[in-house]
Subunit: 118 residues, 2 copies
DNA sequence: CTGGATCCCTTGTGATACTG
DNA sequence: CAGTATCACAAGGGATCCAG
């Protein structure tokens, strides 16, 4: 936990750094999916089916990005046909609170919107 | 605070709802900027100068989106020349924890990356 | 099964000039 | 001051086919 006082500009820079790593349509969804299944064998196909609407191309790209940033592990199993298991790293678990917060926010936002229409 | 158990698919849907409202390059930065200045007169020009890199076009568009979603207020002052004040709504304050978390995450991520290069 | 390569359309974003 | 209009380009993302 950071306790130093930082300026607004520094805050915005940090915020941008986060968004650069975690932003976009899919990354947080993938992180959430994997964090919900820490013990299972999460192979490519299974993840693709678990995240509605994502294409193979996007999933492939996003997984690569997340791996580069040390947020997930990619393990190739020498089976035949070969399979690949993806899992969250310990470091990657640091984004779980972020996704939790957004999940709750999304639920409450929908409630709020619905209330406004009644 | 939600205590109901929800399925992973529902979680991802809620996450997507959040990202639809708050996602993109600028919305969270704008929210952060405004939440840091709740008492000041935040006019268009000032916000534009406070958020490095944003264009007038984008700022205009994003402010409109945020207003539609009830996250910020837009108040036209009948001065001359006319000025417009933007401020966070009470509801909009609910996203402050999200931005705080991302600011901290961004700071720590940078530290981590630097450490990995040494 | 995993996922790279290619093609192509849509959307996002920036620069510039301009209006009320 | 507070934006809008227009153009132009980059990035995002889907579909399809193909290879290890």
């Amino acid at each position: 936990m950071k306790m130093d006082k930082i300026s607004c500009k520094e805050e915005l820079t940090a915020l941008r750094d986060s968004l650069e790593i975690l932003g976009g349509k899919w990354k947080l969804q993938i992180m959430r999916y994997l964090s919900n299944r820490p013990t299972e064998e999460n192979n490519f196909k299974k993840i693709k089916q678990g995240i509605p609407g994502i294409s193979a191309k996007m999933l492939s790209k996003e997984l690569k990005d997340l791996e580069i940033n040390l947020l997930i592990n990619r393990t190739v199993r020498d089976t035949k046909p070969l399979t690949v298991a993806y899992s969250i790293t310990n470091y990657g678990k640091s984004v779980v609170p972020v996704t939790s917060m957004l999940v709750n926010w999304g639920l409450e936002h929908r409630e709020k919107i619905i209330k406004n229409y009644n």
